[in-house]
Symmetry: C2
Subunit: 221 residues, 2 copies
């Protein structure tokens, strides 16, 4: 078992990517030190040195060794602290889980951000694409409780922190996820009942206020 | 060991992504059936059914079960046929390998394609970014023979098929990778001496002619 000082997360409270790492640690029961980065005031030298290419959080330092990119970090956590396993055991189910994690990484946050960054036709196109993406995810979920089946796991950890931004998308996009994707909403609720998730994720109202501030910074009225 | 009919690859000869899968199979000594897709005449129903989201090659069908996205497929191959291992064994080295594979996936082909799809300032910007990307990869390679150290492995398999397109980038971008990235060129040569690579990859001259055809299709003179 790690000692707390050995495991350091460079973090930012509203980042869904950082929150994936925190949920994974909570699931594994791994203690860690959390260092909130001041992304607007100036990134720390440790962040810039540890992630010179992307200069982004999260960065995980384990015994001083840096790792970047949240999905990669969650896989590292699963390989380093084996119990309980986050990924399924069969190679086919693992490939499926990685496929959906990658799909989520490529689509959800970027298309979601287009909803609060654009207007008019661009906004309508972003909304349409965003709902299509959630429809695909509803298909992957099927009638299961979680993406991997009966128990909360890897794809749930990758996806659930992104949903804290949905209220902001709904407000600026004038739509309701629950109406458009009736299967997706109960999955969100189910995940939020889990302690590792509930204690990690920020209030969507606070995320919405953060997005209002970001819009001002981007000069969007 | 798999029987040949059990493992089917939906393939396209010039795709660096398909060629990753073929090199991984060659390294593992796994026999497989190869079905060349007619991407311009019409994709097969099997491709469209197996990869409904991206509708792209490669698709691997193992016992009829489809898997998509080349890096994911190479990981599946490594988990299914254990010997010789492609990924390193320590979680930290594995995370590093996945980081570089993901960096390559995000950058090399798309920026490289900008070199033959654009002109003027856009072309110059694409060239500059492409060389920066290779400089990062030179940094990751360091003084090692391969990305993982002394032996050919996962990151090499992800990267090397992309280099068959470099001649086309050089011709349309008017530069030489060897001059800009003196450490990267010997790594390419070293990989090409390996049987799994040599027997899989197409001749860069044929790739260049394919790119000439693609430019015509895109209306680029």
């Amino acid at each position: 078992m790690a000692t707390k000082g050995d495991v350091l997360l460079l973090d930012f409270w509203v980042s869904p990517f950082c929150n994936r790492v925190k949920i994974a640690f909570a699931e594994k029961g791994v203690p860690y030190e959390d260092k909130e980065e001041d992304l607007f005031g100036g990134k720390s030298d440790l962040l810039l040195k540890s992630n010179p290419i992307y200069q982004k959080v999260p960065v995980l330092l384990h015994g001083g060794k840096p790792m970047c990119e949240s999905t990669n970090i969650v896989l590292y956590i699963d390989e380093t602290w084996a119990s309980p396993p986050l990924l399924p055991s069969s190679p086919y189910d693992r490939a499926r889980a990685r496929f959906w994690a990658d799909f989520i990484d490529k689509k959800v946050f970027d298309i979601g951000s287009s909803i609060w960054k654009t207007k008019g036709d661009e906004l309508e196109a972003a909304k349409k694409e965003f709902i299509e993406i959630l429809k695909y995810l509803e298909g992957a979920l099927g009638d299961k409780d979680y993406f991997g089946g009966d128990s909360f796991g890897f794809v749930d950890i990758i996806a659930i922190p992104l949903t804290t931004w949905f209220l902001a998308y709904e407000k600026f996009g004038d739509f309701k996820v629950e109406e458009k994707c009736p299967k997706f909403a109960p999955w969100i609720k189910r995940c939020l009942e889990r302690e590792s998730v509930a204690k990690t994720l920020p209030d969507p109202q606070q995320v919405y206020e953060f997005v209002i501030m970001m819009r001002k910074m981007h000069g969007i009225e």
